[in-house]
């Protein structure tokens, strides 16, 4: 029982009698006991989507085949990088802290490329939404693709909508159990394969397949296969549209992002209403009375994978997969009416047509131009940084204790720990120069000089190397408390350089 209490500030005076009466009335209405019978959650209706043929169904099949083929087969694609690197085209190598994508190799400190990729993904999603609504949800989202695959398996084993519903509504027979058993086995098989493909991205695929088959793979591989099997089986087989309706944040964001010009799967009620049976519509038309094209056959509802009636207008549950368009077009063809009663359109155009104006499409708008511009800029920056990515680098850490050392002849020395990065897949020799002090001597501790007196630091392929470097200032005039100096790393073969600024400390004046 809740009581809504109306508080009033003291300075707010009630001047007239009717106002007081109104407040009392409101307070009483507010205090009425709430209706406790309304359930907090809507019960789930089981959805039996009917099979359908048509343009959008074909597009969805094509997307399904292509995306799943990429997912399942990509780990087996080979890419020759030479003897010092793995030969898998796409590999997330956690033990060695590397990510390989064809000719690109990313180190952990370059994870900003991933940030750029995520920005690109988000803006591409926004652009798709601004042009043609929930293209991602309807065709590309993994939840949609796998659910579609699981629906196909279900129809294959348990029959199409009508057969499946009839069998479910009757008492279960042995055949029902057998069919359901086969369906769940197939689902589990697909789910298991999905998990199996997942782990292949994290290790050499052919080797891991062999290890998995012989039971010698690491425990973590089996664990991940198990996790992915369970999630795929439940998300695609059992939760289905519930994921889109309750778990996914994108429908909410999409609704806030969209505008009136974005194409959506739309029921053209200007054409469809008033709906009536085909026979009655003919009679009405014969008498010159208005009759809509919608014959209320409910095919659009029956094929919908989320159980939405598109004729109710734009809907959070509608993933805009276009299957209702295919279903409706098939009926319209049979009735000899024009197709496109349900089509990619806007509410704005329906209103235009109702007012006998020309419908219009406006794909080029401020937001689409802006999205495209952001994509171009972010993509361009990423391409540029990838193309000009340094294959060598250096970090310099000054000794913390002691900050400087005085030598017996009075000169000063500073110690540094230097880490040299070699991102090329071969051994490289580097020298280091220090600029900014009048007369310096640098010495790599523990590194014997070569015949020419130079100290070369050799760094292995795709590796880093830490060396200790001491810099001694022999100038007669003592340097300031802190002098800015420049470390220059030079590859002696290619001449490629990397520069880092640091400081040379002294006691000061």
């Amino acid at each position: 029982m809740t009581a809504r209490v109306r508080t009033m500030s003291l300075d707010q005076q009630i001047t007239s009698e009717p106002a007081l009466a109104r407040l009392v009335a409101e307070a009483e209405i507010g205090a009425a006991p709430p209706d406790d019978d309304v359930p907090l959650y809507a019960p789930r209706r089981k959805i039996y989507p009917q099979s359908v043929r048509g343009t959008f169904r074909n597009v969805k099949w094509a997307v399904l085949v292509v995306t799943l083929a990429i997912y399942y087969l990509l780990p087996f694609v080979r890419w020759d990088r030479g003897p010092n690197a793995p030969s898998q085209a796409v590999l997330i190598d956690f033990p060695n802290r590397r990510f390989y994508f064809f000719s690109i190799e990313i180190w952990p400190q370059e994870v900003y490329y991933l940030t750029g990729l995520l920005i690109l993904a988000a803006i591409v999603l926004f652009l798709m939404n601004a042009v043609a609504g929930r293209v991602w949800c309807g065709y590309l989202c993994p939840q949609t693709v796998w659910t579609d695959l699981f629906f196909a398996i279900e129809r294959l084993v348990e029959g199409d909508r009508r057969e499946h519903m009839q069998r479910d509504s009757r008492n279960w027979t042995v055949e029902t159990y057998v069919r359901k058993g086969i369906k769940h086995s197939l689902w589990l098989f697909v789910a298991w394969w999905t998990g199996g493909a997942w782990v292949l991205y994290f290790a050499d695929a052919p080797t891991l397949v062999k290890e998995l088959a012989t039971g010698t793979a690491p425990f973590i591989a089996y664990a991940w296969i198990g996790i992915l099997t369970v999630t795929t089986y439940f998300l695609a087989g059992h939760m289905r549209e519930q994921v889109c309706l309750y778990m996914c944040p994108w429908p909410r964001i999409q609704a806030a992002l969209t505008d009136e010009f974005a194409l959506n799967v739309t029921y053209r009620y200007d054409r469809g209403e008033p709906r009536c049976s085909a026979k009655k519509a003919e009679q009405l038309r014969a008498h010159g009375q208005p009759a809509g094209d919608c014959v209320d056959c409910l095919q659009c509802v029956h094929v919908c994978p989320t159980g939405v009636d598109i004729r109710g207008g734009a809907n959070l549950g509608c993933i805009q997969c276009g299957l209702c368009i295919d279903a409706c077009d098939a009926i319209m063809n049979k009735l000899g009416r024009a197709t496109g009663l349900i089509a990619y359109d806007t509410d704005l155009n329906i209103k235009e047509r109702l007012e006998d104006k020309q419908p219009f499409y406006k794909p080029v708008r401020l937001r689409t131009v802006l999205y495209a511009a952001i994509i171009a800029v972010v993509g361009g920056v990423m391409l540029y940084t990838l193309a000009t990515r340094d294959s060598e680098g250096m970090s310099v850490i000054h000794d913390r204790n002691p900050m400087y050392v005085r030598l017996s002849d009075g000169s000063l020395r500073n110690g540094y720990t230097i880490r040299i990065v070699n991102k090329q897949l071969k051994y490289r020799d580097f020298i280091i120069r220090v600029d900014g002090l009048p007369s310096t001597l640098i010495d790599f501790v523990g590194l014997p000089p070569r015949a020419d007196g130079r100290q070369l630091v050799t760094v292995g392929p795709d590796q880093t190397k830490e060396v200790r470097l001491v810099v001694t200032d022999y100038s007669t005039t003592p340097p300031a408390a802190s002098t800015s100096i420049l470390f220059k790393l030079i590859d002696i073969d290619s001449g490629q350089t990397a520069e880092v600024r640091d400081h040379f400390f002294g006691p000061g004046q």
Binding site: V405, R406, L407, S408, D409, R413, G415, V445, G446, V470
Partner: protein, 292 residues
Amino acid sequence: MAEEHKEIDPITGTPTTGHEWDGLRELNTPLPRWWLWLFYITIIWSVGYWIVYPAWPLLTNSTQGVLGYHTRSAVAEDLDGLKQQRGPMVEKLATASLASIVVDPQLLEFARAQGRVAFADNCAPCHGAGGGGAKGYPNLNDDDWLWGGKLADIEQTIRYGARAGDDKGRSGLMPAFGRDNILKPNEISAVADYTRSLSGLPTEPGIDLGLGKKLFADNCAVCHGPDGKGNRETGAPDLTDKIWLYGADKQIIVQGIQNGRGSVMPAWGGRLSESTIKALTVYVHTFGGGEK
């Protein structure tokens, strides 16, 4: 359970338990069912826990559990695993000669890593975290060594210490010239001034350096050398360079001559393992001041 007491409290609308004390009725607000079941499951789980792990205290011991798990043995196992993992490298470090360690990049890296930890644990309290030293404790980064800066010298100093009572250790004391009445106060002052002049430091104006020079030759040169360059056999510092273990002020030098000097470094031979001593030697040598 709830079926027995259908009485509803009129104010809150909650069923009561049927209990009544002086007109007060107890409301029945049971725990959520899911919570209760989780609670029951944890109770069942705990029974399994008693069987598998050490659980119940007994008079002198406790139940051991069928897994035979024990936190102490788990730590011991981890330590053993670590020893096994490092074993070959530690072995190599213990048997390799110092000269061969510094030219083997892999061994050098391992030695420096071991040395860094051992230095922080054992040496840093006196010599500073980076070996920077302090008054009376030598800076290990510079090129001025009291007892020698070659690998073998450093190893000997670490192993046997300085003035720590070990026969093989570094020994040699600066006598207390003033306290033992060898030099008079004015003579000490003259020697102190002469000592400062050796490294080009200003002396007190109008002083006769001749007296100091003569006293130095008579008393100090035996250890510090006729020209004050020091002697590593006795640990007598070079007085001509820019590095001062205790300080270059005249007052500090006078103190040293008056009372003598003789700070102690412990002998680490019996306390640290062979590989640790070698690692420390290499680590100190690679601060930057090590001699070839």
